[in-house]
């Protein structure tokens, strides 16, 4: 008989992991706040902590106006892009985690079904057609949805359902939209349009306006909250089709639904900030290392980490050089390095 009488937990390390969430969550929240305030202070026009607190106090009508210039720097230049960094970072990380869960694959990122290549094509097309910045954003959003739509439809045309056909659909859609992007780049005016396209593709938060945030924040927040709330579903879906269905879970409804929600979230981030690589792939891994794989614990941590990470990355983008490095480059650079460290830490517990 397979019976043992001892009931002591053998692996204290992972016991520790699942209980960590209780103190890690507040700790990361504090880190996010600290990063946020720090990012408000540093920049080409450095502000002291007191100045920033004064500006915040003034906006809450607690103190009298002190420094009009500081006011402008905080409210017009820094705050909108920091708010955007929080929104984009958390949405991308949660989107990535959902993609990884739904596809049962920890090395999947939101670009899998063509979100990024579609968005790039849509934005590039709008730039070449000489349309306004707003239409470029709309183009990116529409392109992202179109590409995922193409990916899903191609998967539908292939025989035998399941994950592999979705992956193939994504592969084909990615190839299609990457080639369309190349075509648009080839046709673009090399003097002004091509640099504009390249610049857009690198991803940046420098042009985010309050108006954009008013429009997109409610949607992004709602989607991120929905994705976090879907955590228990992800645990079951990541078992695989037959096992999940044998537990009475409607896989054929929930999987596309989650893909659509995560895709929407990613498409919105792309239209707000361009292509910010690595966040969606890397942050879920770090979250798993910190609190374990169970999505119920890992998703909220993932959202906070993504927000903190992007606030810091954006701060680096603004301050590392005298000019501004596009945010996408910073995340790619740090992301690639950090991923090596994460993979080294994972060792046996991976795949």
């Amino acid at each position: 008989m397979i019976r043992n009488s001892v009931s002591v937990s053998a692996d204290t390390k992972s016991v520790f992991l699942s209980h960590r969430v209780r103190w890690l969550f507040p700790l990361i929240s504090i880190c996010l706040c600290a990063a946020f305030v720090l990012a408000l202070c540093v920049g080409r026009y450095p502000l002291s902590l007191l100045q920033v607190l004064g500006v915040i106090g003034h906006s809450l009508h607690l103190v009298k106006a002190q420094d009009a210039a500081a006011d402008a720097v905080v409210f017009q230049a820094r705050l909108p892009r920091l708010v955007a960094a929080v929104l984009v970072g958390s949405a991308l990380s949660c989107g990535g985690a959902v993609y990884q869960g739904v596809f049962r694959n920890p090395i999947v990122s939101p670009g899998l079904l063509g979100v990024l290549s579609g968005a790039a094509f849509g934005a590039a097309l709008a730039i070449v057609l000489g349309l306004s910045a707003f239409i470029v954003q709309l183009g990116a959003f529409a392109g992202a949805l179109l590409a995922v739509g193409v990916g899903l439809s191609v998967a539908g045309l292939l025989p035998e359902g399941g994950l592999l056909t979705l992956l193939l659909g994504g592969l084909i859609s990615n190839a299609l939209f990457t080639s369309l992007l190349s075509l648009v780049k080839y046709l673009a005016d090399p003097l002004d349009q091509l640099p504009a396209i390249v610049n857009w593709l690198l991803g940046s938060l420098s042009d985010v306006s309050w108006q954009e945030i008013y429009w997109l924040a409610p949607l992004l927040i709602a989607l991120t909250v929905l994705l976090i709330r879907a955590a228990p579903v992800l645990d079951v879906l990541s078992l695989g089709d037959d096992e999940a269905r044998s537990l009475g879970v409607p896989v054929s409804v929930l999987r596309p639904l989650l893909i659509v929600l995560a895709t929407f979230a990613c498409a919105l981030t792309v239209s707000m900030a361009g292509i910010i690589g690595w966040v969606g792939l890397l942050v879920p891994h770090i979250a798993r290392l910190m609190v374990g794989a169970e999505h119920r614990h890992m998703m909220p941590v993932c959202a906070l980490l993504g927000a903190t990470g992007l606030v810091l990355a954006d701060m680096c983008a603004r301050t590392l050089t005298s000019g501004e490095i596009p945010l996408g480059i910073v995340t790619e650079l740090f992301g690639a390095l950090a991923f090596v460290l994460v993979l080294r830490r994972l060792r046996g517990g991976f795949l």
Binding site: G240, R245, L247, G248, A293, F350
Partner: protein, 258 residues
């Protein structure tokens, strides 16, 4: 005896160009039976299992659960009655053993609801039954094949289903684990559950099974007591090798006839 727990009538399934997988298969299974399903590779054993679980819709015929068609039940009430142990479980993420077993309560609690006291009790019971308490917090990705099999079996047990359908549960297990698993399945059946397992080894079914089915070329070609089905004659015909049987103290062994 009592009425059929799980049955299928006239089930047919064709797939692609390969033609017929199952042709007019009818089986009725009762609670308390330990049923072994034998057949060649590709004979349709796993397919039949998936049809019985409602994971696959047959082209013709239907599946009855306690006399009512499977379609009349909601997905979660089917899952409350039928548990599935797949051939090999590969974990995508390093969930803890306990979390994996807790997922067996999903049919009862629904997705996202917290576990109630009775759910925790069922999980504890299942884990104790399979000797998993010691490894409750270990990530499933770090377990051996045999340990993982026990985790999936514990999950099925936590489901508190009336029937357990296992797809080649012995594959990949060492001899000791095979014997332990078989005796455990015997206990489950004795407690009134229906156990249906597919197998590649007729000998391992002989003693513990109360009934053996043979699936060949899409048909059930034999169905009955192991003594009458697991015979040199049937097995020679099924596997295409001429076999000689040796009975010894309630077990039956086969050797190839020279």
């Amino acid at each position: 005896m009592n009425a059929d727990l799980l049955a299928c009538e006239g089930v047919c399934l064709r797939r692609g160009r390969c033609g017929t997988v199952l042709d007019n298969v009818s089986v009725s299974l009762r609670a308390g039976e330990l049923v072994g399903l034998l057949g060649l590779n590709g004979a349709g054993k796993s397919t039949l299992l998936r049809i019985l679980l409602g994971l696959l819709k047959p082209d013709r015929g239907h599946v009855l659960l306690e006399g009512k068609p499977l379609g009349a039940y909601s997905a979660s009430s089917v899952a409350q009655q039928l548990a599935y142990v797949p051939q090999s479980h590969t974990a995508a993420f390093p969930y803890s053993v306990r979390r994996m077993v807790e997922l067996g309560r999903v049919p009862h609690t629904g997705l996202g609801s917290a576990l109630r006291a009775e759910d925790h009790a069922a999980v504890d019971h299942a884990m104790a039954r399979l000797g998993l308490q010691e490894m409750a917090e270990r990530p499933v990705t770090q377990l051996s094949g045999g340990e993982r099999q026990r985790v999936v079996l514990a999950r099925a047990l936590a489901q508190e289903a009336k029937a357990l359908l296992l797809d080649e549960p012995m594959t990949g297990l060492d001899y000791g684990h095979q014997l332990r698993l078989m005796s455990l399945l015997g206990e489950f059946a004795a407690e009134g559950r229906l156990i249906l397992l597919t197998s590649h080894r007729p000998e391992e079914l002989f003693a513990p099974a109360s009934r053996v089915l043979v699936l060949d070329d899409g048909h059930i070609v034999a169905d009955g007591l192991p003594q009458n089905v697991v015979t040199a004659e049937h097995m020679s015909r099924l596997y295409g090798v001429s076999l000689k049987q040796v009975d010894h103290e309630g077990s039956r062994f086969f050797t190839m006839e020279k």
